[in-house]
């Protein structure tokens, strides 16, 4: 059978074989690199959480108090509180706006004084009670624990790593009396 050659006289089959080898090598090198990064509640999570506030309607004013609901007896919860306070302390009101206000669990009755409440880790057993407290209040509960959102006890869940992820529970939002910008809802995962 005649060998097919291109305009520069090269054997087309040989060129395809070489190309295939090069492609396979590149693919192997490429697959071997990269490593997923996982993390718990981080400063980046806090910033992502704050950036979602803009998409709650009606529009949030530039300066907003963010209640940080925590359990003084739970180390995980205290750790989250520390992260939030350190992240937002003295932060310029640029791309993310929020003044953190620590709110101990024993002051849960004050929760509806705030439009935004960050529910720290370690409050798994109180999440339903928190949700019941915020029902119809317009208060937005936000957590880095996506299970809280999936269970319908929190309105917004965020994870910054390894890729920014925003989860909204539509039923929890309706129950809490919270509305979002329509464009935002097109771009996030809804439960």
């Amino acid at each position: 059978m005649a060998i097919q050659r291109d305009r520069w006289g090269k054997d087309i089959k040989e060129r395809l074989r070489q190309f295939g080898l090069t492609l396979s090598s590149l693919l192997l090198v490429w697959l071997g690199s990269g490593e997923p990064a996982w993390g718990a509640t981080t400063a980046k999570d806090v910033l992502v959480a704050l950036r979602t506030f803009y998409f709650v309607t009606p529009t949030v004013p530039p300066h907003v108090n963010l209640a940080v609901l925590f359990d003084p007896t739970d180390q995980q919860s205290l750790s989250d509180l520390k992260t939030v306070m350190a992240t937002l302390k003295g932060r310029a009101m640029g791309d993310a706006a929020g003044f953190p206000v620590p709110l101990p669990l024993d002051q849960l009755n004050r929760i509806t004084d705030f439009r935004f409440v960050l529910v720290t880790s370690g409050l798994e057993h109180q999440q339903q009670a928190i949700f019941e407290r915020t029902r119809g209040s317009g208060t937005v509960t936000i957590s880095t624990d996506l299970a809280c959102v999936e269970a319908g006890w929190c309105v917004i869940g965020v994870n910054a790593e390894p890729r920014v992820q925003v989860l909204v529970n539509g039923k929890a939002a309706v129950a809490a009396g919270v509305q979002f910008d329509a464009t935002f809802l097109m771009m996030i995962r809804e439960q």
């Binding site: 791309d95 910008d181 935002f184």
Partner: protein
């Protein structure tokens, strides 16, 4: 016409600003800048019609950001596009480039759709984009979205090889105030002034004026041009106004108006140079609102192209004018958390005068309907499907050249096309994503190919004419790509392969007709098919805060199935040889103190293009001229004199090169001073 447009512009501007007066602080519109800050990546609407993260798009999308534009040293958009994988750019002069996506570069083909903020900027008369005469200054651009593969299911005809959507900044969210003065080799002079006015908190208007001129003689116009036409150097003068207001309920109303005049040297479809003097006016109004039935968007615009052409090879000089009026309405909604649907209806009226005959014309009306359905199959798997039908009614008015073998009834033609896109995105627990998609799109014959070109070559008794019976060219595309996180170098990579088939390629018919009067007739026809496969790979990252880098590589091979070619016009219609097999781009950027340093390098493997000079000057048969196999180096050094003023020196295409047989392109060195505040 232009005075009508300007009058209408002024009236609508006043109306919009009037509506905004007294609005309260409750307005909330689409704010792409905040969405991008939230998701830490570009947000696009070009792939499906819904706002989405670029990494979620069910198509291969490349983004050129405002920061990349600012650090590119480029003076036009094709220079930026050339640095992307799978994009080829050939220049007939300083200005007047032709751009293709995934090969098949040829002048006047219309395989890609180019939009400025959703408005088509395609001249349908002859099927080209005047890249040098776009009404938008680089300073105004927020990002350029390049979607590869057929997108006709969303955009209709001509989005066959891909879509380039140039998105400008929203004057409400990102006011621009800038002044730029540039100068350099080839007597290049450029200036632009942009200001944004905010009469209220919820309305803004951006006004931009810009212009450039240059002496193109250094780029050695080919002998044919020198013999047949007066020298022409490119220039452009533009005015652009973009007004936006947000109403109490969050709805957004916009008005955009632009006027451009200028001249450029381009190639005809048979690779001869021509000189075009153009005046382009456009006006667009759009409204977006959140309603109980979803996000409604309405848009209407009109483009008005007035063009005078000087052609070589014994063709007469003449005018051709193209008017396009487009109206569209779409509704985007989520019936449940896992499904998003977009319904759209479009109307397009497009008309052109017959070349050189203002009393005759040809045009069509197109009615279209489309549905896009995006469904979340699982948290890691998303499927997007889109279908569209276009119903076109062609018509003609005025006298018909008696030598053309068509009657008016032949032009009264209806044409229906169905296009689709389907894309599956599989997302892993990491930022990695695998995409598989397929689509079918159409390239509509240009109005000239339908019949707005029926021109007698005076130096030879030859008549070229369009054919109302010619069918749209059809492009099938399948591709698989993988985005992979490279967290070790703060970057990411993408590798993809594609297979594409083009049927019903449109060109001059292979059989020449010789009439009893010895007239040679060259009609347009569908001449054959072609297949291509290719690979695109890209990497980008940061080595340290000061260093950023990116590289991309493209391989492409084409196999043509065009049984016979027209011996006089396109005997070497070989897309296989006109597309380089290999292309490599590298960018390195370094920032230290007030200095930015960037270097872009491009390697292009060999390709070959028809040599028009060989035919006309020597009387020989058409020949393909080998080109390519060169490296383009484009360095840039910028120094921020103050927080608002930047001085920069940039070079484009160091070393002479030849993109096309007809001219050699000289390197360019440019100095510019830009103030941004």
């Amino acid at each position: 016409m232009r005075s009508d447009l300007l009058g209408l512009t002024a009236a609508l501007c006043l109306t919009i600003l009037g509506l905004a007066t007294g609005t309260s602080a409750k307005a909330q519109g689409i704010d792409y800048n905040r969405l991008e800050t939230l998701f830490e990546e570009p947000v696009i609407t070009s792939a499906t019609g819904k706002p989405q993260r670029a990494s979620d798009a069910p198509a291969t999308v490349d983004i050129i950001t405002a920061e990349q534009i600012r650090r590119s040293g480029a003076t036009d958009i094709p220079t930026l596009l050339q640095r992307l994988p799978g994009i080829d750019v050939y220049r007939a002069s300083l200005d007047g480039p032709d751009v293709s996506i995934r090969g098949y570069t040829a002048p006047m083909t219309g395989r890609i759709l180019v939009l400025v903020d959703g408005r088509q900027v395609y001249n349908d008369s002859w099927g080209f984009i005047s890249w040098g005469l776009l009404p938008v200054d680089l300073e105004e651009i927020r990002q350029i979205e390049v979607i590869k593969g057929p997108q006709s299911a969303l955009y209709g005809f001509n989005a066959a090889a891909g879509v380039i959507n140039i998105i400008t900044q929203n004057p409400l969210d990102q006011p621009i105030n800038s002044l730029r003065l540039s100068g350099g080799s080839q007597a290049y002079r450029d200036a632009s002034a942009i200001t944004t006015l905010k009469p209220t908190d919820h309305s803004a208007v951006r006004l931009a004026v810009a212009g450039f001129d240059a002496d193109d003689s250094g780029n050695r116009p080919d002998p044919i041009a020198a013999q047949n036409m007066a020298p022409l150097s490119p220039n452009r003068h533009t005015f652009h106004a973009d007004a936006v207001t947000r109403l109490d309920d969050g709805d957004q109303l916009g008005l955009d108006a632009a006027f451009v005049s200028g001249q450029e040297r381009r190639l005809t479809s048979w690779y001869s140079p021509m000189l075009l003097r153009e005046q382009i006016a456009s006006i667009k109004a759009n409204w977006t609102g959140s309603t109980p039935i979803g996000l409604l968007s309405a848009q209407a615009y009109r483009n008005d192209f007035r063009t005078h052409a000087d052609l070589p090879g014994g063709f007469p000089s003449g005018d051709f004018n193209n008017d396009a009026t487009v109206a569209s309405l779409s509704d985007l909604f989520k019936p449940d958390p896992d499904n998003t649907i977009r319904l759209s209806a479009d109307y397009r009226r497009n008309a052109s005068t017959i070349y050189g005959h203002n009393n005759a014309g040809l045009g069509y009306d197109v009615w279209s309907g489309s549905v896009m359905w995006d469904t979340v199959l699982s948290p890691s798997l998303t499927l997007t499907n889109a279908v569209r039908f276009d119903d076109l009614q062609l018509g003609r008015w005025g006298p018909i050249n008696p030598d053309v073998p068509f009657t008016r009834a032949d032009y009264d033609r209806t044409l229906t096309a169905y296009s689709f896109n389907s894309g599956l995105v599989w997302r892993f627990d990491t930022p990695d994503a695998l995409r598989l998609n397929a689509g079918r799109g159409y390239t509509l014959p240009t109005l000239s190919q339908f019949g707005a070109w029926e021109t007698q070559q005076t130096s030879a008794n030859a008549l070229e004419y369009g054919n109302p019976g010619v069918n749209p060219s059809e492009v099938w595309n399948t591709e698989l790509s993988w985005d992979h996180d490279l967290s070790d170098v703060n970057g990411s990579s993408r590798i993809g392969v594609f297979f594409q088939r083009t049927a019903n390629i449109i060109d001059f018919a292979p059989a020449i007709i010789v009439t009893p009067q010895n007239q040679i007739q060259l009609p347009i026809a569908n001449v054959g098919a072609s297949r291509t496969m290719g690979l695109e790979a890209g990497l980008h990252g940061k080595l340290a805060p000061a260093w950023d880098w990116s590289t991309n590589y493209t391989f492409q091979a084409i196999r043509d199935a065009i049984p016979q070619r027209s011996p006089l016009i396109s005997p070497n219609l070989s897309y296989a040889e006109r597309t380089p097999h290999h292309k490599l781009n590298v960018h390195i950027g370094y920032t230290v103190g007030r200095w930015n340093m960037d270097l872009d390098a491009s390697y292009l493997a060999r390709y070959a293009l028809p040599d028009f000079n060989a035919v006309v000057l020597t009387g020989n048969n058409w020949a393909e001229t080998p080109l390519g196999q060169f490296v383009l180096l484009s360095p840039r050094v910028a120094f921020h004199l103050t927080d608002t003023v930047t001085a920069e020196v940039a070079a484009q295409g160091l070393w002479r090169r030849q993109d096309l047989p007809l001219s050699v392109l000289e390197p360019r060195v440019l100095f510019s001073l830009t103030g941004r505040w």
